[in-house]
């Protein structure tokens, strides 16, 4: 029996999960990041702990959570911390290996905009803002970005507003951040990667059937390609089975 072909959500979740190999702590929002972390826990990162910005550590949810503060994350958790402790001692304290962030716009240095489209004072669209994103960027050892849509408006030469700056911008402002900033961007076209300060995001891998030119055309800056560009290994049947049967059997997020 062959598994059904992977959906876009499944593909992104599987690819993100693989990138979490051997990591210990991940700061994840609800949706694809949770799916990725849960799958990684079952596969490449058995010691992985998901920390939620609401204050939950070591959750053992009875149901797939609908928010980062879902009651099912609390009941049976190993610890529920006050927010000053979570943000101060856990996140700023340097205990998070990987933080997942989303954004409306990203630039080649991995700077992120989640505040406004247009001018902040008279925005065309008011977005939610930082939440904890600015802190995750400044304090997690590295940041993974999962963005379904890969187009030049989202992957832009110039952000309308920088909500969560990578280390290069921080250093220019005289502030030394703890981590490397965005190191992986996982999209429907492939994976962009950078290692740290002074490095641009480069195309590291494409999904099967996608060419480097496709990705360059979808990116708003002149995207460089890694020397060892690879093709993403499609989700295995084992990965898909875990995702479909154990992680999200009701397909809450696997739309």
């Amino acid at each position: 029996m062959t598994a059904a072909a992977a959906t876009s959500s499944e593909l992104l979740s599987v690819v993100a999960a693989r990138e979490l190999a051997a990591r210990r702590t991940v700061f994840a929002g609800i949706g694809l990041p949770t799916l990725a972390a849960s799958l990684a826990h079952l596969t490449v990162a058995p010691e992985l702990e998901i920390v939620y910005e609401s204050g939950v550590c070591g959750a053992h949810p009875s149901h797939l959570p609908e928010t980062i503060a879902d009651a099912v994350l609390i009941t049976g958790a190993e610890a529920v911390l006050p927010m000053p402790t979570l943000f101060g001692s856990v996140l700023q304290g340097g205990h998070i290996d990987v933080g997942f962030l989303g954004a409306a716009q990203i630039d080649k240095w991995g700077n992120l905009n989640s505040s406004v489209i247009g001018d902040w004072h008279h925005p065309k669209a008011r977005l939610p803002g930082s939440g904890g994103a600015n802190e995750v960027m400044a304090n997690a050892r590295e940041v993974f970005v999962v963005m379904r849509r890969h187009d030049p408006r989202s992957f832009t030469e110039r952000l309308d507003f920088c909500t969560s700056p990578g280390p290069d911008r921080a250093l220019a402002d005289g502030i030394r951040p703890l981590g490397a900033g965005v190191t992986r961007v996982i999209t429907e076209l492939g994976i962009l990667a950078r290692e740290g300060v002074g490095e641009e995001l480069r195309l590291a891998a494409v999904h099967p059937g996608v060419s480097a030119d496709d990705v360059r055309a979808a990116t708003g800056w002149e995207l460089k390609t890694a020397d060892d560009l690879t093709v993403v290994e499609p989700p295995t049947e084992a990965e898909l089975a875990l995702l479909r049967e154990d992680v999200d059997p009701e397909r809450v997020y696997l739309r």
Binding site: A71, R126, R176
Partner: protein, 312 residues
């Protein structure tokens, strides 16, 4: 030792402690959002409030739509992950029906403002904001040079935020005794700091309990009586958010809010029916109906008791 009875009705508490022009903090991170208090502020027609709330969500959109708010201080303006806040976007994007002054932070920036306010500090340092555009649109985000050498031996700079001291902080909790010793379990958020930062504090609870209940587990008291001015018993007052162990989150209502709030007429009708059209939160609860509440019932998962010990 203090045993002053601070219980009052929501109507009394809002009338006594929230005035036109006040700075009002409403806290509760996803859990225990003081919605019923927001609705009573709307019913009493407060104007020109500065509202402080980390996650400006449905209750803030409702207070905006009711014309109570002239300024918002926040770190996240959105309807959780369930969509947009229609009124907030109209106010910010097109000044309809009136402009909204907006002071923007990140979550930890807001947390640190509360801590600084609670601890009476002139500023609080945090490792956020370096290279961000936020300091360009918020002049309260400033830098301080550390008087100690940095990791490389040179000088080190860090951003700081100023304290916030609301005129009143309102929080929702599971239970309190009559004098205001307040117990919260599950997510405790930043409620303690928001209360200590404020000049006055109103605690809204699912139930007022005997002092003996509180005193059987003093570590569970997140806010002691000396920091509380009013205790309001208001069951289900956190709807559509949840109260751990009391009722679950009304996710359907969250999902419906984008459509309600996108259409100003529909939003006005919603307020007329559910807020202005109900005398108090008990009526709002009754109007939703028992069948509705049955859908949010939670089962039991009791904590194991611990022994505090008794001298023999």
């Amino acid at each position: 030792m203090s045993a002053v009875d601070k219980t009052m009705t929501m109507r009394e508490a809002i009338a006594a402690h929230v005035h036109d022009g006040d700075t009002v903090s409403l806290e509760g991170f996803t859990h225990l959002i003081p919605t019923a208090a927001g609705h009573e502020i709307i019913r009493q027609g407060r104007r020109d409030l500065t509202v402080i709330r980390m996650t400006a969500d449905i209750v803030v959109d409702q207070m905006l739509a009711a014309g109570c708010v002239s300024k918002l201080v926040s770190s996240f303006v959105g309807n959780s992950s369930a969509g947009s806040l229609g009124e907030l976007r109209r106010r910010v994007e097109s000044a309809r029906p009136a402009p909204l002054e907006f002071e923007e932070y990140s979550h930890y920036g807001m947390i640190c403002r509360y801590i600084a306010g609670a601890q009476r500090l002139p500023f609080y340092p945090l490792r956020s904001y370096g290279g961000s555009d936020l300091p360009e649109v918020n002049s309260s985000l400033r830098k301080v040079t550390s008087p100690y050498p940095g990791p490389d031996g040179g000088t080190e700079q860090i951003y700081v935020v100023p304290p916030v001291n609301p005129d009143v902080t309102i929080v929702h909790a599971q239970r309190a005794d009559r004098s205001g010793n307040t117990q919260i379990w599950g997510l405790t958020g930043v409620q303690a700091e928001a209360v200590y930062a404020a000049r006055k504090a109103v605690v809204v609870v699912e139930e007022v309990v005997d002092g003996e209940v509180v005193r059987s587990d003093p570590n569970r008291t997140v806010v002691p009586a000396h920091a509380v001015n009013a205790v309001v018993e208001c069951p289900r007052g956190a709807h559509p958010s949840f109260a751990q162990g009391y009722y679950d989150r009304d996710n359907a209502f969250y999902r419906s809010w984008s459509a309600i709030s996108k259409d100003k007429e529909r939003l006005t009708a919603w307020l007329a029916e559910w807020v202005h059209g109900t005398r108090d939160h008990a009526e709002y609860v009754a109007k939703l109906g028992e069948e509705f509440w049955d859908g949010l019932v939670v089962g039991e998962a009791m904590s194991l008791p611990v022994n505090y010990g008794r001298r023999l």
